[in-house]
């Protein structure tokens, strides 16, 4: 299976300003309050300043809506500060149309993945296996809903998986898909965010390992060799020449 199978959208955030294009689909993002650009994990990234309430958004549509389906959200994140919530990639209006999303949960000092089956109340899985993230460090955060195993899951940097039972699915609601804040600007991120992907399937462990790439990452279209493949390919055997 290819990493592009089941992929809905990928945003590289290579643009300086204005519309951020969807590299895989057609969910191009509107720039709210002038999201900046910085050197990112893979090329450039979006530089979100919480004090300026900056975020990217796309109005809800069927491709971004969930339901009781398999769903995976992933992003590279570098927190600038940890003084407040930093919403990362979500479909959440913080009201009656909440669906899914990954974010930094400031009160617990953890990355978190949230799901809502009724649009109002949420189930949250925190990345306890990682523990408190550090500001100024890139992390690869993956949250997913497994509709077969009925679980909510989060994993950071291809490390331990935090998982809990969740059997009630996800609301297929009308909230905007957003990066850097909730719909309307709540919980603005003070962070740099890069290479965000949304799949309507559950990734295998091998796929998540490839995306993390031993900390180097793997840019869309995910067709290059992983870091391990690049590094550990043995040199050809040539008799008489020491290796």
């Amino acid at each position: 299976m290819l990493l592009t199978d089941g992929l809905i959208s990928n945003w590289k955030l290579e643009e300086v300003s204005g519309t951020r294009n969807d590299a895989h689909g057609t969910n191009h993002l509107t720039d709210n309050n002038t999201v900046g650009q910085a050197v990112g994990k893979l090329g450039f990234c979006g530089d979100f300043v919480a004090a300026n309430v900056e975020w990217l958004s796309r109005a809800s549509n069927a491709s971004l809506q969930s339901g009781d389906i398999p769903l995976t959200v992933a992003a590279w994140v570098k927190l600038t500060t940890k003084t407040g919530y930093s919403e990362i990639a979500l479909k959440d209006d913080n009201s009656t149309a909440r669906e899914y999303g990954i974010y930094y949960d400031q009160p617990t000092d953890r990355f978190g993945f949230l799901l809502s089956s009724d649009g109002s109340s949420v189930v949250i899985e925190l990345a306890d296996a990682l523990g408190p993230p550090s500001a100024g460090v890139w992390y690869y955060v993956i949250g997913w809903h497994d509709d077969v195993a009925n679980t909510i899951n989060i994993q950071v940097n291809n490390g331990g998986i935090d998982s809990a039972s969740h059997a009630t699915g996800i609301l297929a609601g009308g909230a905007d898909f957003t990066i850097g804040a909730l719909q309307g600007g709540g919980g603005p991120a003070d962070a740099q965010i890069d290479s965000i992907s949304l799949w309507k399937r559950v990734l295998t462990g091998h796929e998540k390992t490839r995306l993390y790439g031993a900390g180097f990452g793997l840019e869309y279209p995910f067709s290059g060799p992983s870091f391990q493949q690049r590094t550990y390919r043995p040199a050809p055997y040539r008799p008489g020449i020491a290796r």
Partner: protein, 140 residues
């Protein structure tokens, strides 16, 4: 006695009385700068009303601007210069630049009896941004 409905009406009338001027200044700003003006929230604490009290308050963040621009509320709306006008709600101007073009929106918020009410007025191509008065959860 400003009931919730009376407070919403008060705020609506205040915004309506200033919207045409603000729209004209936004168009002038765009002509001169190539973009619309972003205004951070006018208040640290949103004006807080009850059935027994009018919580209108002067903006205390009129001299604050986004880190990537220089113009604050005082520059664009000097009529509200600190302390001179009581604002019945906190106002924020969001600007946007998307696939359908550029626009801006006024986010209007006040508290009534401890509950947060928000209305959004869109000016531009993304018409779905406009929202009627909505009870909004406090916090992020």
């Amino acid at each position: 006695m400003p009931t919730l409905l009376a407070t919403q009406t008060l705020v609506d009338e205040f915004v309506a009385a200033n919207l045409a001027v603000l729209t004209a200044r936004q168009e002038n700003f765009r002509t001169n700068r190539g973009r619309y003006w972003q205004g951070l929230s006018t208040h640290v604490m949103r004006p807080s009303h009850t059935n027994g009290s009018d919580g209108s308050a002067p903006g205390d963040r009129l001299l604050v601007h986004p880190t990537d621009q220089f113009d604050d509320w005082d520059a664009v709306f000097p009529e509200w210069r600190a302390g001179s006008v009581l604002l019945p709600a906190a106002l924020r101007i969001d600007v946007y630049d998307g696939p359908d073009g550029r626009g801006w929106a006024i986010v209007i918020e006040f508290l009534h009896a401890g509950t947060l009410w928000r209305r959004v007025i869109n000016v531009g191509p993304e018409t779905s941004r406009s929202k009627p008065w909505t009870l909004t959860p406090l916090g992020p």
